[in-house]
Symmetry: C2
Amino acid sequence: MTQPVRHDAMRARNLGLVLGEVHRAAPLTRAALAELTGLTKSTVSKLVGDLVDAGFLAETGPARVGERGRPGVSVVLSGARVASLGLEVNVDYLAGCVLDLSGTVRFSRRIERDNRGRRPARVLRSLQKLADGLLAEAEAAGLSLAGAVLAVSGPVADGVLASAPNLGWRDVRAADLLRLPVPVSLENEANLGALGELWFGAGSPEFLYVSGEIGIGAGLVVGSELFRGARGLAGELGHVVVSSSGPGCRCGARGCLETYAGQEAVLTAAGVRTVEALVRQLAADDPRAVRAVAAAAEALGLALTSAVNLLDLDRIVLGGIFGPLFRWLAPAAESVLADRLGPLRGSVPVLAPSTLGATAATLGAAGTTIHRVLADPASFPVR
Amino acid sequence: MTQPVRHDAMRARNLGLVLGEVHRAAPLTRAALAELTGLTKSTVSKLVGDLVDAGFLAETGPARVGERGRPGVSVVLSGARVASLGLEVNVDYLAGCVLDLSGTVRFSRRIERDNRGRRPARVLRSLQKLADGLLAEAEAAGLSLAGAVLAVSGPVADGVLASAPNLGWRDVRAADLLRLPVPVSLENEANLGALGELWFGAGSPEFLYVSGEIGIGAGLVVGSELFRGARGLAGELGHVVVSSSGPGCRCGARGCLETYAGQEAVLTAAGVRTVEALVRQLAADDPRAVRAVAAAAEALGLALTSAVNLLDLDRIVLGGIFGPLFRWLAPAAESVLADRLGPLRGSVPVLAPSTLGATAATLGAAGTTIHRVLADPASFPVR
């Protein structure tokens, strides 16, 4: 009774092993794969054949000169069949993208709209339409969906969006409101943004990703993995205390980072309505805009000081609105970090701008499924 | 050539397996051990025999009724031979203890003295004497030292105490200044305090340990392991920002938690010279003492709010001076946490007093070596 199970488990493990090596170092010949995995050439040939048939791998031209033995056909990850869907509900937009197994964004959509005060069911109905459009495009391109992940702008525990104060939502099973042909998992947008930057952007195996939107969140990556905390609620940088008697925050407390450096706080202080307008005013040295961003930068520097003291960070990637504001925001924040951390630590973390911008969370969402498929292809339909 | 190596590696693994099971659930018979480890009874008997000969295990009376098969002799961890040394240099004391493999403290010593402004070599000479005394006691009791760990009150990276602003030390290889018959490793005292509480005290698999001394540090335990951050410097709770324009801190910044809730700050505000005197004044409802602790509690609540937002904590153990002050300090700190975290998280972390008090770090230090021995007994001299 146990033989077939063991055989299947070993085959599943070996499929993941082969796919993982191709992901790390494609293109690879079957001979190179046998050497890297320690499997026999005939086992590798069988596994590669199955993975090609299933649409996970594609064959490409002969290997380069210099490879040992006679040149063989190489394999790469195939973008032709397996794909994943990343979706995002944020306070002022809806977004989604389809990523294929080779890591290429095939289709993406984005709708700017203010979701504050709108009921979850209504917002998710709009997202359903956006997702249906993406799925139709994917299907027309011959892609088959392996899974979907939905990013939301608040802490997520056990599949529930616990609270999104900027949307006015509480305890929402947002993923259950979507009807998709694959299961949908729910995750915090800053965590997914961190994974997006780790896999496709400015991340590194150890860094903090800061997502500056109407709310401010953060995702901590340690050893190339997300640090989630006891219940998956870690990274609420927006509610780190900057001043205990500061302005009232939507969370119910006072003087949280969000009240100084959240999108609404900065735009209001600068007297403009959009981030684009703020950037124009900054470029023109408008004193009110400069003062608004300086205040946000100081608050961000103070909150990041607390974060570095607790988490020991060497690299911090600033995303969301902090991306376009980076050249005005970063020097002042770095100066706070240097003043407060320099003497004790002897070094100050590097601040870097997000390279993915507003697409970080949807890319992280779509990439999550791609990484699950690469780690365990046997769990996904292999025909 | 590889056969003997593989055999040794497997034997080492199996020795650790057997010792681990005894650690979790002693007393155990050889038959129970065979069942738990999946090894054959004859392999277990051989391994147990070797571990008894080496002084890691001891035989005890027949197993209780109800055990399957005929009652056999059980084994437990032996406290008779293998021991470890835990040492601590703090701002106002030196301490050490000898722990045997069964987890019993066999000998301990403590010297109260102000080490501020004294050179590392001089302080470590005093600690050497304390350690020599403990080693003589251990030797006289027939104990053999497996290792030593030294706790210091500042961030440690790569074996170097980077900075201990309250001692006035910087970049000190403190462990190298000791002459002991075993290698000495260096570690931050709050990290070791966290491990002490995890293994012997009020800890749990996920919690934050706060060490309130002249400096304030913290050790984060996640999945029963220390979280160390990118360079091992995580947990500097004492320099989390409480108020950016607050009192000057020894670290060079302003308004760090330490300037409000560190031992010196609290005693000065209360107008007393010792923690014992402060406790007496609090018990007598002295208004100045009550005000001093209320201010410290509010600052601690604010810094812990930032920590919970970033780390997602459900349990916080307060150690050092926060232990004796717990009943006056905790309610006010909890009230800040409830006000600031309640609405967003829907729950507030539990505050609990340390059960080990000032011995947490030396117990964690000594326990570190004991856990290394239990995980890999073959790496320690087995005669």
